[in-house]
Amino acid sequence: MSRSTRFDTKKVNSELVNLTYGTLVAQMVKDLDNPDDVSKQLDRIGYNIGIRLIEDFLSKTGTARCLDLKDTADKIQTAFRLYLGVQPNVVNWSPAGDEFSFILDSNPLTELVELPENLKQLKYSNVICGAIRGALEMVQLDVQSWIVQDQLKGDQNTEIRVKFIRRLEDAMPAGED
């Protein structure tokens, strides 16, 4: 009597996240006339997710304080695997060692997305950049992050650049003297 189908929950989970995110983007495109505004909002949403996600990441992985930016890059790489199920390569370090890129062979967020002609400038995956920025801010690192290559726009890979700006002072927890 009962249906035997049991879904692969991990797969459904990521499909659900990707579809929900896609619908949100489509809704934003409808709400805001300018694709650049949408890109900005997506970054902001990513930031809000990042500042909360970091707690989960730290508790799940028991990660200690990062030694240097190289170490930080490795940990974000782990986060990609944990949350998006992909393992990006960390490459293209700047000579000064303050900038690097994540290269994704496939981006689960955009796998089933086709951008309409009038939205070619939309930075669909900006949520990832925002999340990296938000998460690192919570561990006292001020960074910039942006998309360099995008498979949605026909590039071979997706490349996300991260640039270290400065170390933030340890903020006192609010309400404590």
Partner: protein, 163 residues
């Protein structure tokens, strides 16, 4: 599972985004509506449900009838998305179904108290949309509302629209 938290956080952000947008619009009109406008939030759920059901029913045998479809929503579908089955399904066999979840995923983190009860509709609107969208694509056209008496329990009322 790692993705769980991602969906929870995304869900909160969608709530924030849709409410912020409504706020902005209402400031322009100087209106002081009491009930929050959750229609955009519901619609995002609808559109997500409409699409995901296409994927989830790909390997399923054909549904026998409306009740069979609703049972699928309460069991396999609900566990895939909300990590547990619906606790109770009632129907009057005339197109009204009541789905009761005693520990609804998006209400679990709200404390029980009157002030939280007031914001609770925000946490169920997306899901009302998911149900309506999934059923609409399965050709069961309906209205879905949620009824929250005590957290984290929630009743989803489905009223099938006969044409």
């Amino acid at each position: 599972m790692a993705d769980d938290i991602l969906f929870d956080l995304l869900h909160s952000e969608i709530i924030n985004y849709t409410l912020r947008n409504v706020d902005d619009n209402e400031k322009d009109k100087n209106s002081d509506k009491k009930d929050e406008d959750l229609s955009n939030l519901e619609y995002i759920g609808f559109s997500t449900g409409y699409r995901i059901i296409e994927r989830l029913t790909r390997e399923m045998p054909r549904f026998k009838d409306e009740l069979d479809t609703l049972k699928f929503i309460c069991t396999d579908f609900w566990s895939a998305i909300y990590k547990k089955q619906i606790d109770n399904l009632r129907t009057n066999h005339q197109g009204v179904y009541v789905l009761q979840d005693n520990a609804f995923r998006f209400l679990n983190r709200l404390s029980n108290g009157k002030q939280y009860l007031e914001v609770a509709p925000r946490y169920v609107a997306f899901t009302c949309g998911i149900i309506r969208g999934s059923l609409a694509n399965l050709n069961v056209h309906c209205l879905v509302t949620a009824d929250i008496q005590s957290l984290p329990s929630c009743k989803f009322h489905i009223q099938v629209q006969r044409v």
